[in-house]
Assembly symmetry: C2
Homo-oligomer: 395 residues x 2
């Protein structure tokens, strides 16, 4: 019998996906270069050339049997060791090989981390605005996702509402900084306050509360902004990383979990992830991609494009009267819509070939997201359309 | 709190893994070339050179943004289409793109297929001897794996015991032909009888029973043996394929599901798999590997080595008096041990640097598996050790 749970999920189509499909269809009519498609977070700058070179070298020089052979289920040991060493050097941490588990991007990392530290029925807290895929990541583990309404003044954390919601069933808190969709980076002050509160609640409830830090945008941080390393604030932290955005490799599905050495059972969590994988069939990211990223761990694609795009958009949005917190990183910006119904607002924008995403599914109604990982030239061309859209509808 | 379920799983270490670790350790003492390591099913023949060439061409010629960009969650459309066409041409089927879902090898395929067609509490039947990883694949879905004892005369199916076990809670039957560990290929007669019985039981119980066919060894079939295409015998079939063995790419984690077009909800099962993936974080196999295998779909690594190895071993085992069914494919052979306790038998063999795997975990006590995906020269060198082991212990 067909499993009804998954069949039902087919009905709930992602708004982002629908808008992206609209953009592609419209592109076939008028040329995709004329559609101002701000829907998808697909990196637009190429992977660093060193990645391509390393891949070609591996293919030319290593024996195929060795190169394409099974990776150990936790990841290739030398790769895990290099990642631990790089994190230790950059963030003054003390990871060992055994604390690293290779995953299919940040999605795989978060899905594994949540299964490691919750049982069905437990609660996981996250903060709006949040990446809508957190719902399937959490819901299908049997735990429940609890969303704290946004602090719309700065897109940091609304600590009053958080403390109210932080009951004894909360076993994990899931954060994402730099944040999709707000583009905002949590400050050291925010992280310190968060850590203090979690430590107090751990003591009060007599059980651990894990901080799961989803950090695919860790390396996309703009000039003059400081992005603190989350796990350095709180011992019971699991860092979930992806190379998708930093190396512009989203299709190659590669990332990792780094378990803080001070976590309870720190030495076993990566091994537990290996057990979880046996049941989901995820196994391990591909050997060749593991070996290749290990050689370019501290490189990134050219991120300056994203900052240039952000500045263009931020200035224009402000001058058009939008309420908007300036992003500190990522390639997203998150203004308040000019009417309370953001879906209606985004629908009207489509008439100007502007594809904007209403933020209801991000847990922040009344706002919209623009993913500006597109060519700067196109951002520039979109500004008059944006102006016309606002002037013809909201003046 | 650490999830106890996965922590407990850490205690149950795989026998195969332990033996493989022993082999590596012993290799460090006496040189790995002197250890007759028959423990692991890791292909020993290189991927076809065309695969390497295609990979290098993709890296050199395609724009990195396009090459490494997100794959749609069900897989790259052109890749799925090529797979459907190749299956249709080779096996006279009628698959469409929508029936194909790209997975992380056969493990991912089976884990998704089972989740698609069972609910927690349902039963999934398989036949001994069986791949021990079926336990985590099935158990972690919430369904229960029911194992039918082996037909040790021919390693086909013991239909009497099967029919007894085929109650109304059985929603899926999981088969593996050519079989790991027996090396045996199910005959057309076996498959026809299986299909007839399932159709009768579907009618009797008034619900569908899916046949999940795990076929990573489909292309490793010896001269004069015919391996029928399982799904052509039974409409409600889901074929689970992996390129790990046929292209010698086990580390690259690539395979697919092919849903028989006559399955109930056939057009939705691949899409449901996409929903399942959202929850497990498996996502999709890497873009570049998808694109590369699509260019070499009907090639294989040089399989003749495995047949040469099998003939050497089969003849020697028979002449030493082992009971042994001649393999029709794979790179496994599955003789009866010379004492009833196969673990004790394999333990003694270690003194001759022969690493054999007792078959208790394959559901077939008293037998042992040899994975002969090693160099033919090493197989030859192992024969005197095998003879000495038998003569010194069992004569």
């Amino acid at each position: 019998m067909i499993a009804q749970k998954y069949k039902k999920m087919l009905q709930g189509k992602s708004v982002i996906r629908q808008l992206s499909e609209f953009a592609n269809e419209r592109g076939r009519e008028i040329g995709y270069e004329n559609v101002f498609d701000y829907s998808l977070g697909n990196p637009s700058v190429p992977a660093p050339p060193q990645f391509t070179e390393v891949m070609i070298d591996l293919l030319k020089e290593k024996s195929p049997v060795e190169l394409h052979g099974y990776s150990p289920s936790l990841g290739i040991s030398s790769v895990r060791e290099k990642i631990a060493q790089s994190l230790n050097r950059r963030f003054n941490m003390n990871y060992k090989t055994d604390h690293i588990f290779m995953t299919s991007g940040a999605a795989g990392a978060v899905a594994h981390a949540v299964r490691c530290v919750t049982e069905p029925g437990d609660e996981v807290v996250t903060f709006a605005p949040f990446f809508p895929e957190y719902h399937p990541y959490i819901d299908l583990t049997g735990a429940t996702l609890k969303v704290i309404p946004a602090d719309t003044t700065a897109f940091q954390i609304n600590f009053n509402l958080f403390e109210e919601a932080l009951g004894p069933k909360v076993m994990a808190v899931l954060i994402n900084t730099p944040n999709n969709p707000s583009g905002v980076v949590y400050t050291a002050e925010t992280l310190k306050q968060l850590a203090d509160l979690l430590r107090a609640k751990e003591k009060e409830y007599g059980h651990d509360i894990f901080l799961i830090s989803d950090e695919p945008y860790r390396e996309i941080v703009y000039a003059d902004v400081i992005a603190p390393y989350v796990s350095s604030f709180y011992d019971h932290s699991i860092s979930c990383y992806s190379f998708s955005k930093s190396l512009s490799l989203p299709g190659e599905r590669i990332g990792y979990i780094a378990v803080h050495p001070a976590c309870p059972d720190a030495d076993q969590i990566a091994a537990m992830c290996g057990q979880i994988s046996r049941g989901t069939g995820h196994n391990c990211p591909p050997s060749i991609i593991q070996l290749a990223v290990a050689e370019v761990l501290e490189l990134t694609a050219d991120m300056s494009v994203y900052e240039a795009n952000m500045n263009l958009l931020y200035n224009e949005l402000c001058s058009l009267g939008f309420e908007c917190v300036k992003p500190g990183g990522t390639f997203y910006i998150f203004p308040k819509a000019l009417e309370s119904d953001a879906a209606a607002f985004c629908q009207k924008a489509l008439q100007y070939d502007l594809v904007l995403v209403p933020a209801d599914s991000f847990g922040c109604p009344g706002y919209f997201r623009m993913a500006y990982c597109i060519e700067t030239e196109k951002v520039r061309r979109s500004l008059p359309a944006l102006r016309r859209f606002v002037e013809e509808n909201y003046r």
